[in-house]
Symmetry: C2
Subunit: 475 residues, 2 copies
Amino acid sequence: MVIDFIADYYNNIEHYPVLSQVKPGYLRHLLPRSAPLAAEPIEEIIKDIETHIIPGITHWQHPAHFAYFPCTASTAGILGELLTAGLNVVGFSWVASPAATELEAIVMDWLGELLNLPKPFLFSGNGGGVIMGTTCEALLATLVAARDRKLAEIGEGEIGIGKLVVYCSDQTHCAFAKAAKIVGIKQGNVRVVPASKTTSFGLCPDELVRAVRSDRDRGLVPLFLCATVGTTPTAAVDPLLPLCRVAREHDIWVHVDAAYAGAACVCPEFRHVIDGVEGADSFSLNAHKWFLTTLDCCCLWVKDPSALRKSLSTNPEYLRNQASDEGGVIDYKDWQVTLSRRFRCLKLWMVLRSNGVANLRNFLRSHVRMAEAFEKLVAEDARFEIVVPRRFSMVCFRMVAGARHDGVANLVNKKLLESINGSGRVFMTHAVAGGIYMLRLAVGATLTEARHVAEAWKVVREQADAMDVEGIVGC
Amino acid sequence: MVIDFIADYYNNIEHYPVLSQVKPGYLRHLLPRSAPLAAEPIEEIIKDIETHIIPGITHWQHPAHFAYFPCTASTAGILGELLTAGLNVVGFSWVASPAATELEAIVMDWLGELLNLPKPFLFSGNGGGVIMGTTCEALLATLVAARDRKLAEIGEGEIGIGKLVVYCSDQTHCAFAKAAKIVGIKQGNVRVVPASKTTSFGLCPDELVRAVRSDRDRGLVPLFLCATVGTTPTAAVDPLLPLCRVAREHDIWVHVDAAYAGAACVCPEFRHVIDGVEGADSFSLNAHKWFLTTLDCCCLWVKDPSALRKSLSTNPEYLRNQASDEGGVIDYKDWQVTLSRRFRCLKLWMVLRSNGVANLRNFLRSHVRMAEAFEKLVAEDARFEIVVPRRFSMVCFRMVAGARHDGVANLVNKKLLESINGSGRVFMTHAVAGGIYMLRLAVGATLTEARHVAEAWKVVREQADAMDVEGIVGC
């Protein structure tokens, strides 16, 4: 019944408004005030899902979902999750379910090789990979490992942790500053280097050098750089090669956050965007974003797993066992923030096998081609401009609209986005970079076809036609 | 096909050895060296799961799985996960899928009321609940909130964070010390108060007072107490009422970790174990442990959600939206460590509804009765003793075996456990408390019936009969 429900959902998905049109608080008066005393039939629950839940869903799997970054489901991913829930094992240690640990290590080497990650990131090269829920967890784990390694060198002392400085650009995902805060980095020691349009919003290595030198001059200790390949606002790429060179000189841990764009590196023609990763310490991508693996599945590789283990391992008596005591097995609990962990590699393994690498590459390429097509349509309309050169499957654009300065253009585009999303026919989100408010069309939903992208452009044009631009500009 | 596979798995589960009997590294030579270029049929993958994965599974759903704490799957829980994966929405903000946020808030109030949590923990009382993956995340989130609130009072200064002290007992789960380390509490400032057999391994309030006073005398700042209801080693209960009284006097945040035993509080006869929770700041239980909700589902309630939000909220431009800007909606991203979040409340809602409260209570009570029966069997055999008075559904016992001191008895019981688990017929784990090595029989798997517990006792007796106790004692 549930399988049928899901099948029907996908059959009907194009009839739903992409962005839920409910108002805050809609659900509370539709449901009972408390849990039922007696069992209710599953039919009843499914009916309520149809009637009450579906209207409150913003449909991430809708082919016209172009907001944020994609979060791709697929048959293999969903069936993998189903199996994970069915077996419901807790693979914190090897002994707690050997297959969960061993399959994860194997699949992480498979995917690492597909990405052409340097050997030192793979188990076969004395590094290794681990699956977490989200990039936030990957950042936390690597930050703590780097922090403790540095404190072991400089001494925890009275003010050790207060001296540590971390670096990112103003395009880096907010998860990084949050993770830094969580691990006790002083807020004033999160160095946010501005990125500009001249570098297509990539982090400029010279700016990093300047920031690091200035910190060292003040007696502070550079700790960590979060470089991004495919930033959230504009899919910008920080240049890894020169950034890692700077970092090495100052003994800074470099994490490469390729949450969205990392997947593209399984295509040889995109692999160059992570050239230089050999100088980094850790690398992560979210297979749940643009790699058909349902939420959640963040893949993290590190060159030095012992750095994670030194910070994150626990060995309470009640978890001791012969296999762990003898060494020679991976206990993933010591690689991550949490103890319990789901059997997530099952779905990644199923996605890789049931699609095959060739199809996965074609899938990614088809999204890039659709984004190219949209970019072309935008460029052909004199009212619009492409704000940032397109990479991958995301187009950042705006209406120029005769506005004499960005402030007015920003207002116009904000209104435009509201009316686009209000149509319910597509869902896009926005970004602001270099002071420019832009619309983001992120192609990536599993069901998106060329016609949906053409339709998206139609919606944009129609809403632009209907806008009282003069009125807004005139204010 | 996958549904059939899972159905067959449960039909056959009693034929598998509970504890996987594979050797480290068994899987690598059974799988190809890299991901396939061409798609493979799902039949092929399912066959490999049967042949290669199942032998490496330690079967947490096996009715003779008595190790660690239970991690209960159920039909409703599995179907809930399936729906979550099918819809595959990312509910970080209200707008990103209003139903995901609103249903979570409603279900957390439902469950909070079932537990008879004081009103200030519920949304209807200006507190509120949130679902995370694991207790580790709940501890991290509350620790950071408490830390930042305290630092706002005393000043971050040069050494602010270095002054903060956190408290627990030596029975507290290792996740707490790990979380404290992650948020930058100095390792020397994690105050581990020894609990003894005289208090049934509950944390003694007088000992807490002594520790806190001593820290204050040294100029340190008490920050956080993690009290446990149902500790991992022995299911001990820290006395919340007097502990919260001490904490209040010294302005210490109290978190109640009821990961396993919290579920029992839906039965009125067990509710007294959390008496005093009204003095705590936060409370968590894992619905995936003993409440039929598949991994992962940690339910956290806090009295002051704004403390979480002050520490954990982010508001980058690319996530801004009208509903959030206007307030009046919950953006759960600001209540937790990670940004992305699965639609986890769906399965908890389905578990509550498709079982009904009455059946859920009976389910828990049946496990407690089985543990009572086992306890009785142990007590009747002169070779064995109950080490800690049983509470809930776990029995802590050991073989006395004529050993003149605990060291020898510990060795005897370690060997006994090895042979029990080596049989493949049951899986138990152990704990050491007060220097005593004991075996833990944790009843809680969904399929466990009285006959499985009787069989477990038979295995214990048989292995005890076969043991050369004299030989071990004689060494």
